[in-house]
């Protein structure tokens, strides 16, 4: 959804439109109110970046929250619309993550450990130019090796980000833009695997990831460096991509 121009209506005009909308439910007025507050939805959506969901999807969810807020807002209460809308939109975004992203709700301690693990792996890889082993991470974090393994595996339950995900807080650049060369990836992978077109069921981004790992032979840490994401993130993405490919092959068992 494209961003709109900043709100040019003053507070009184907004309140007046809300009163009219409350009485008439005129779709035209609703559109004006939506346009006037899309920046708010966009801004709130951006707060949820780096949790593994594409910005466009987040903006869509925030916009749904905005529509609900507009329908439910009572202009006769002595409160600004934005004061009412922010918790409604944020609630919609949180519900989205609760319902659609996390497959298993991890205990808070385990979630925090997984997050700290991710940071520790990234820091070690940057410092040493290679992936750490479990013992090294355990030493770094002053926890047991079993706890490291538990955290690594539980990270599979945390959101699996798509390759559409923005690569950084301040950047809307798709990871695909960083990878590039997806046409070549498709051709080479399909030839190597002799899958006669099975790769075409994957997104170009997934094909590119497989290309980097299985044709160029880059390690997960090297891919992580190239994509500016964590090794654990690459691991999750690769696993999901392989699952998609396997599922497709299982569904279409032809030789």
């Amino acid at each position: 959804m494209p961003r709109r121009a900043n709100n040019t209506l003053n507070r009184e005009a907004i309140q007046s439109l809300f009163r009219t909308y409350q009485k008439t439910r005129d779709p035209g007025i609703k559109n004006v109110l939506v346009d006037a507050h899309l920046d708010l939805a966009h801004s709130l959506a951006r707060r949820f970046l780096n949790r593994g969901e594409p910005l466009d999807d987040l903006v869509q969810v925030a916009s749904m929250g905005l529509l609900k807020a507009i329908d439910r807002f009572d202009p006769d209460r002595n409160v600004q619309f934005t004061t009412y809308a922010v918790p409604t939109i944020v609630g919609e975004l949180k519900r989205y993550f609760r319902d659609r992203v996390s497959t298993i709700r991890l205990p808070r301690g385990l979630r925090e450990r997984t997050h700290a693990l991710n940071n520790a792996v990234q820091k070690f890889s940057q410092q040493h130019g290679r992936s750490p082993n479990v013992a090294e991470i355990a030493r770094e974090m002053s926890i047991s090796e079993e706890e490291v393994i538990e955290g690594l595996e539980s990270s599979e339950s945390v959101s699996v980000a798509s390759l559409n995900t923005s690569s950084g807080e301040e950047s809307d650049l798709s990871l695909l833009d960083i990878i590039g060369g997806e046409d070549k990836a498709l051709q080479i992978l399909d030839e190597r695997l002799s899958l006669a077109g099975a790769m075409s069921f994957l997104s170009q981004r997934e094909q590119s990831l497989l290309y980097l790992r299985f044709v160029e032979g880059l390690s997960q840490t090297e891919i992580a460096g190239r994509l500016r994401i964590s090794q654990m993130h690459v691991s999750r993405l690769l696993r999901r991509t392989l699952q998609s490919l396997r599922q497709n092959l299982t569904t279409n068992k032809a030789t």
Binding site: R130, E153, S194, A198, F214, S235
Partner: protein, 133 residues
């Protein structure tokens, strides 16, 4: 490859269930860690085992059929032997087998397949221990 004495062996005997890949991933992470592999290499081994398990589970074997995984530690490598894989997938007779072979050969240093009784196969995956600086 020079013959080296087996330092240790861990055997898992598992009933085939949909949760097996999760259990085997966890066990393999622990084994790979003890063997000295880094996270990238451990993930390679987890991927290889998961692909083999999926082949096993996809064959509609009777419930309760066992899957045996033996991890053998050597000074220079880890060997993982998995029984009982239902068919000779290294022949690449269909897309799924070609896919599994491709993935396994990419993530392991060596993949071998041998027939065992009852028309099944055991698959040996060898991953060499790298020398980290």
């Amino acid at each position: 490859m020079a013959k080296t004495k087996t330092a240790d062996t861990i055997c898992l005997t598992l009933y085939q269930r949909s949760l097996l890949p999760k259990i085997v991933r966890l066990a393999t992470a622990g084994v790979a860690s003890k063997a000295g592999f880094n996270l990238d290499e451990a993930d390679d081994l987890q991927t290889a085992l998961e692909e083999l398990l999926r082949l096993h589970l996809a064959e509609d074997n009777p419930p309760g059929g066992n899957l045996c995984i033996r991890y053998s530690f050597f000074s220079d490598r880890l060997e993982i032997i998995t029984r009982s894989i239902p068919r000779n997938f290294l022949d690449g007779a269909n897309k799924i087998d070609r896919y599994a072979r491709f993935i396994l050969e990419k993530v392991a240093d060596r993949v071998e397949e041998s027939p065992i009784p009852d028309g099944e196969f055991e698959v040996k995956i060898v991953k060499n221990l790298p020398v980290h600086g």
